[in-house]
């Protein structure tokens, strides 16, 4: 989120509002991936992330004047819309916790696998651990989940996350701390489930 890119985003948005399709294309390609990843990591569903990205940029097409540069960068504005859509999605489907990130059309995973000389057993273990972490993240309450997603998975700084989530840096710090503690507890449960958890369900 550099100042230069913010200015460029402003200029592109103005051109886009006047009907410049190329400017809109540039804006979309510059910002879609991070919004998509955020939505994917928050919902755990590729189709939902796709819908959310479409909604976010449809707002830019239909109501470009909703963006006020004096209130922050365009990225924060887009994240704000995405957060609203994510929350609506989570309200509709609060209990669903998918284990895989799958894209909607051809079933291929969005993850990039780097081939190396490790054994299939190692890959299987790696996948299993990753699935556990993913499930643990998806089971976090939304306010902790979005902080963990932005600070740990997207590797944003606390200041950047605070801008995106429109809250003080101290809040980000405390949410992250609490989120990590919850994650540790959930991971222990997922990896080493207590026997009584299987009784009575």
């Amino acid at each position: 989120m550099q100042i230069e890119s913010q200015e460029r985003d402003d200029v592109l948005l103005k051109r886009s509002a006047k009907g410049d399709e190329d400017a809109f294309k540039q804006l979309y390609r510059r910002n879609q991936a991070q919004i998509y990843r955020f939505a994917l990591r928050m919902t755990g569903r590729a189709w939902a992330a796709e819908e959310i990205v479409q909604d976010v940029f449809m707002t830019l097409v239909r109501e470009p004047r909703k963006f006020d540069p004096s209130r922050g960068p365009l990225t924060a504005f887009l994240y704000g819309i995405a957060r609203n859509r994510v929350m609506k999605h989570l309200e509709r489907q609060p209990r669903e916790l998918p284990l895989e990130y799958r894209s909607g059309d051809n079933g291929t995973s969005n993850e990039i696998e780097v081939p190396d000389d490790r054994t299939p057993a190692h890959w299987a273990e790696l996948h299993e651990r990753r699935d556990c972490v993913r499930a643990a993240v998806l089971s976090l309450p939304p306010e902790f989940r979005e902080t963990v997603v932005l600070c740990e998975l997207e590797e944003m700084s606390y200041e950047e996350a605070a801008t995106v989530l429109e809250c003080p840096v101290g809040t980000i710090r405390s949410r992250l701390h609490r989120g990590r503690a919850l994650l540790l507890a959930k991971l222990e449960m997922l990896r080493d489930p207590p026997k009584r958890a299987n009784v009575g369900f």
Binding site: R41, V53, Q54, N110, V133, E154, E155, L184
Partner: protein, 213 residues
């Protein structure tokens, strides 16, 4: 620093500097439980980073961009068409106004010039009528209506298109000034007379409208 304080510090012993971080590091060396917790936390952060890297290249499918660009084109083409329709509407309205204004000007030029010719023209009859009293005066009642008019003696008939009619009130005796014969017994009666004026404002013909007495 005790275990609770260490937990509340947010595990700052790794990157942070300062007295709090030093105290956390010292606590880690002396407390195996917190050290184990800290190790698990480091492991968790590593796994989260791995998870982040695994999906770092993820992006929306290209069909989303296609749909958005299609919507963009549709929307802006609609706006352009709407703007064109608005501009065309305003231009049509402006053209109608200009046409109406032109029509009014032409109509006024055709019918209004006769008024302009008549009003300022001094005529002997009206002058004598005004001299007979404050109520007496002339009124334009028609641009051209020469039916039932009697020619004033000595007047030459002009073009009919350039005549106009003025109604005046006067004493009957004043008609004598136009060369008409007047009965002396009724010379003081006030009558309304329509005068047919030529383009120069000179009376050419007259007719008695009615007597006010």
């Amino acid at each position: 620093m005790n275990c609770e304080e260490f937990a509340n510090s947010g595990f700052k012993s790794d990157a942070a500097v300062g007295p709090e971080a030093e105290a956390a590091s010292e606590h880690l060396r002396t407390c195996p439980e917190c050290a184990a917790l800290y190790e698990r936390l480091l492991e968790l952060r590593g796994e989260l980073r791995e998870l982040g890297k695994a999906s770092a290249q993820a992006g929306a499918p290209s069909r989303v961009e296609m749909r958005l660009r299609q919507e963009f084109r549709t929307r802006h083409n609609t706006d352009k068409n709407r703007n064109r329709a608005v501009v065309a509407g305003w231009m049509l309205a402006a053209a109608t106004m200009v046409l109406a204004a032109g029509s009014v000007v032409v109509w006024q030029q055709r019918h209004g010039t006769k008024i302009a010719h008549v009003s300022p023209a001094p005529i002997p009859v009206s002058a004598s009528a005004v001299a007979n009293g404050p109520e007496l005066g002339g009124t334009l009642i028609a641009a051209s209506d020469d039916e039932q008019f009697a020619l004033i003696p000595g007047a030459l008939p002009g073009l009919q298109d350039e005549t106009s009619v003025v109604r005046v009130q006067m004493q009957r005796g004043a008609l004598g000034a136009l060369g008409l014969s007047v009965n002396d017994e009724h010379a003081n009666d006030v009558v309304q007379v329509d005068l047919l004026l030529d383009a120069d404002g000179q009376p050419q013909a007259y007719r008695l409208a009615e007597s006010t007495d």
